[in-house]
């Protein structure tokens, strides 16, 4: 259908609503895109909430520029929000977009290439002035020049329709303009057969302090809905059935929130006060925001003067007997390096969360990358072993926070938890766990001075944790090498070797405690695809598609990166080939080669975007052949 078949619709026709049928879809990928000030994240979030409440499985992915409010109408100021939801399990936010809502020419230009052939493109023609077309780099208007022919185009003057709906409102013209995201949301809720009532209640709650805005947004929302209902642009409505799932209570959760909740849970399960020392940095700040709002728990948050003070305050809190964490991203990891070494040396429990972003240096602050793995494992002076684990999805951050805390206190060691900007901001459906079923995190503070030696070790080679204030056990720790037993300063050559080796053995010993690996797919065969971190969804989808095509391929996703699981070598041996897709230039692949002397095929992507399943499947096919 050519774009010129449609007159540009400026108002809903006055006639009775056309008759329509409702089409059942298995899944749909929707992307909202507009200026960074257009409220696209909000529209996307609200849409997700609505489909989540209907029981669909979903994954969302916000994609926004690092500028807070880039110049209006520029391509670098475009903010996007994508959701895939489905009547079956969803692992990623989706590859090809089924419906794009583009609020201005720049948003269209940046995003239209991701729309599948025949997909729907809804554009706000009210923003398609000559000036804004030029700003986006268009020499002719794509709405009328036929260049959008491969898509089903729905041109709607959202700006004007919103303004008309709000005629007589006491809001300023500028503020009325801000309501157009709710018009777009209302239209999408109508198109996907979702009720308005919950959304209206939510708007009134969200804008409780500004009732004028609340009512304006409700009017815009209803106008969007009514427009869809009256317009002839949409002959078909869509419906996605609920996805089957284990019975239970569910909620939507971003990776940042899951991380915060995981540490609050770890605090309860260990009986320790949670302390977060942190310095704001994208994309990790959300964890600090979340925990700062939870001071009615046994939670202390401290916004430090810099990254170093963030980690150091956490070390002080750990010395005092708290469950201490610090949160950061790449540049902050670099600054925390020396202090992490101090935690290694003093053998104090500490969790460092690195929400990775594109690097090096300031890099791509809001974009996804997983290039800090080798830094996490090796990036400190001296022989400085630190356990490293990585979360595979937003909800997995909850479990990983618990796991990181458990390792830290059980082995008296700093632990690095890797997440990334993709996981941190994305949301997915999460089955709320039964707290009583979560494994406890046992902590034993030593209080018996009889025979106490600072560096005497238990079966895990961990030293005792002694809280200051415990009588008769006064002692000093520090960064200087210490005697193997007494903890006194020691420059003795053989003692140093013994201490270096025991610190390494302690961390290596964690591997013995890990459960056996579980592979998704055949237990042996042509190829195993090994991943870590946020590539989980794309790899799982690619491998599943490969299996459906008859390929002998399995998926192994690692949570523990240091030490590597004890049975990893044996599992890899069961396959003819190993492929490691990573959002870096080959870091896990290097580790696997080094540890197991195996040839490892690689797939790299460093574009600030996640893998698509298709990219991985193409490589799977290539490697197997």
């Amino acid at each position: 259908m050519s774009a010129t078949d449609h007159p540009v619709a400026d108002a809903p026709p006055a006639a009775a609503p056309p008759r329509r049928h409702v089409e059942e879809l298995e899944q749909v990928v929707i992307r909202f895109a507009g200026d960074s000030g257009d409220g696209m994240q909000l529209a996307g979030d609200e849409f997700s909430r609505s489909v989540a409440a209907a029981g669909a499985d979903f994954v969302t992915r916000p994609d926004y520029p690092s500028e807070i409010r880039a110049p209006v109408g520029t391509t670098f100021g475009v903010s996007g929000y994508q959701i895939q939801y489905s009547s079956h399990e969803v692992l990623t936010s989706g590859d090809a977009v089924d419906v794009l809502v583009a609020m201005n020419p720049a948003a269209l230009r940046i995003n239209v290439a991701d729309v599948r052939q025949g997909g729907m493109v809804i554009v706000n023609t009210g923003a398609f002035s000559e000036a804004s077309l030029a700003k986006a780099g268009y020499t002719s208007n794509p709405v009328t020049d036929g260049s959008l022919e491969p898509y089903r185009l729905s041109p709607i003057n959202i700006t004007e329709l919103t303004a008309k709906a709000l005629r007589g409102s006491e809001l300023s013209k500028k503020d009325i303009g801000r309501c157009k995201n709710y018009f777009a949301l209302g239209l999408m809720l109508w198109l996907y057969h979702r009720p308005l009532e919950d959304e209206i209640a939510d708007i009134r709650k969200k804008f409780a302090k500004k009732p004028v805005f609340a009512e304006a947004n409700v009017i815009a929302l209803k106008a969007g809905w009514a427009y869809g209902d009256a317009s002839e642009l949409f002959p078909v409505l869509y419906h996605v059935r609920p996805a089957p799932a284990e019975p239970g209570r569910y909620r939507s959760l971003t990776g940042s929130m899951a991380t915060a909740l995981g540490f609050v849970a770890a605090s309860e399960l260990s009986g320790l006060r949670l302390f977060l020392g942190s310095y704001p940095i994208t994309p990790a700040s959300e964890i600090l925001h979340s925990l700062a709002g939870l001071r009615h728990f046994r939670v202390t948050t401290f916004q430090a003067e810099d990254e170093i003070a963030g980690v150091c305050s956490a070390i002080g809190a750990a010395f005092g007997g708290a469950l201490a964490i610090t949160t950061t991203s790449g540049p902050g990891m670099a600054l925390k390096t020396e202090a992490i070494g101090l935690a290694v040396m003093t053998e104090l429990p500490l969790v460092i969360v690195n929400v990775q972003r594109g690097g090096p240096s300031t890099g791509l602050p809001t974009k996804i990358e997983q290039a800090d793995l080798l830094q996490a494992i090796y990036g400190r002076p001296g022989e400085s072993p630190v356990p490293v684990i990585a979360a595979r999805s937003p909800a997995d951050c909850f479990d990983c926070a618990l796991e990181a805390a458990r390792i830290a206190v059980e082995f008296m060691t700093p632990v690095i938890l890797l997440s990334d900007g993709g996981i941190g901001n994305s949301a997915e459906r999460w089955r709320i766990p039964d707290i009583a079923q979560l494994p406890p995190i046992p902590v034993r503070f030593r209080t018996d001075p009889q025979g106490f030696q600072v560096y005497a070790r238990d079966e895990h080679l961990a030293r005792a944790w002694v809280r200051p204030g415990t009588p008769g056990m006064e002692h000093r720790v520090g960064g200087l090498e210490k005697d193997f037993v007494t903890g006194d300063i020691s420059g003795d050559p053989l003692n140093h070797q013994r201490m270096v080796e025991v610190r390494a053995a302690k961390v290596a010993g964690i591997a013995r405690e890990l459960p056996p690996l579980s592979v998704e797919g055949p237990a042996n065969g042509d190829l195993v695809v090994v991943g870590w971190g946020s590539t989980y969804g794309a790899i799982a989808q690619a491998v599943e598609r490969g299996q459906r095509q008859g390929l002998s391929v399995a998926h192994l996703h690692l949570r523990h990166l240091n030490p590597l699981p004890f049975d990893l070598g044996a599992v890899l041996q069961r396959y003819r080939k190993v492929l490691v897709p990573e959002l870096n230039l080959g870091q896990l692949s290097r580790l696997l080669r080094e540890h197991y002397l195996l040839p490892v095929a690689e797939l790299h992507k460093v574009q600030g975007r996640p893998f698509t399943a298709t990219e991985i499947l193409d490589r799977i096919v290539e490697v197997i052949e």
Binding site: A52, P247, Y250, F297, F302, A317, I432, I435, H475
Partner: protein, 342 residues
């Protein structure tokens, strides 16, 4: 603020001496500070196990190894941050930071000023010898302009920090200065610092016998010290000199040295020290008195009561509980939009 247990037993100086060999150069000023601290601690009514000494890197930062309390010899410049974290989770402990001019003012300068503005209840002793000792003789942020050292063979072109002025400008609630060899003065200043609730900053001029010997000799030699030091006392006029006949008068914000009895000057014309003034402006004027034009002020520049950081942090929890109730993990996990699948 130490929630001291009433009867810490009968502690004495020797209870605070460790079995470690002290490794400072013979004759180092640090010995004298250590001795005064070990003398003070048993008198504070705090159980020994409730003291924590935290240091960074440098000669003075070996301090914790020699005090039989809990302690951490951490990394360069970071002791204030570590101590802040500790104090936030364990407000009942008496936390002391021992640092030096390089540790606190060069690599750790950022943590130092932020500690001052937050008013965390901990004591920070800056042993200022105006030189890098442990790295063997480079100039420090308090070395004099023009000073020749290994890294400034022709003379330093850095103007030095005045640590007391820096602390006051950063909003410190207790600021004092003493010298290593005046044991009586140092002991008294440390006692007042220990009694202060909030960040108590004490700069101690400390002689480095190896790399900067005699840096403060005019302030410690009996023959010269009275002419070169101005002993501050709350509520007393700014008087100095062997005959205690000279004093400081301010004309507006400009200080001048006057002689009582000469040119019609009486003691009533002299500035009177008010360490408890809410506004730190006058304390900053006094802190700016520096040789060669003026004597060096020693004593307590400022001692005011403001809420401590850890108390305010605790109050945030009280407020949060009053607002949201006692946190329930179950409710927290169930917050936001939830739905049931059966």
């Amino acid at each position: 603020m130490s929630h001291a247990i009433e009867h810490p037993g009968h502690l004495s100086r020797k209870d605070f001496v460790t079995d470690q060999d002290v490794r400072w150069c013979p004759g180092c000023g640090d010995y004298s500070v250590l001795a005064q601290v070990q003398k003070l601690l048993p008198s504070l009514g705090i159980p020994r196990e409730n003291f924590v000494f935290i240091s960074g890197i440098g000669c003075s930062s070996r301090f914790p190894y020699y005090v039989e309390t809990y302690g951490m010899h951490s990394i360069h410049g970071r002791a204030p941050a570590i101590a802040t974290g500790l104090k936030l989770v364990r407000p009942e402990l008496s936390v002391w930071v021992v640092t030096g001019d390089g540790d606190a003012l060069a690599i750790g300068g950022n943590h130092f000023i932020h500690l001052m503005r937050r008013n965390v209840d901990l004591k920070i002793l800056l042993l200022n010898n105006r030189i890098y000792g442990l790295t063997k003789g480079q100039y420090s942020p308090t070395s004099e302009f023009g000073k020749q050292t290994k890294t400034t063979p022709i003379g330093s072109i850095d103007r030095p920090f005045n640590p007391v002025a820096l602390a006051l400008a950063a909003g410190a609630t207790f600021v004092a200065r003493s010298v290593d060899l005046d044991q009586e003065h140092l002991g008294e200043i440390l006692r007042q610092a220990a009694a202060h609730r909030g960040t108590a900053f004490v700069e101690v001029y400390q002689n480095c016998i190896t790399f900067n010997d005699g840096a403060f000799s005019t302030l410690t030699d009996r023959e010269t010290r009275d002419e070169h030091r101005l002993l501050l006392a709350h509520g007393q006029p700014l008087v100095f000199g062997t005959a205690r006949s000279r004093g400081i008068r301010f004309r507006g914000a400009v200080p001048e040295i006057v002689t009582v009895g000469a040119d019609g000057v009486t003691e009533a014309d002299l500035a009177v020290h008010d360490a408890r003034a809410e506004n730190s402006g006058v304390a900053q004027l006094i802190a700016a008195l520096e040789p060669p034009g003026f004597p060096v002020p020693l004593g307590v520049f400022r001692a005011v009561d403001l809420p401590t950081y850890e108390r305010l942090s605790g109050e945030l929890e009280t407020t949060a509980r009053a607002r949201y109730g006692e946190g329930s993990l179950e409710q927290l996990l169930e917050s936001g939009t939830t739905w049931t699948i059966s």
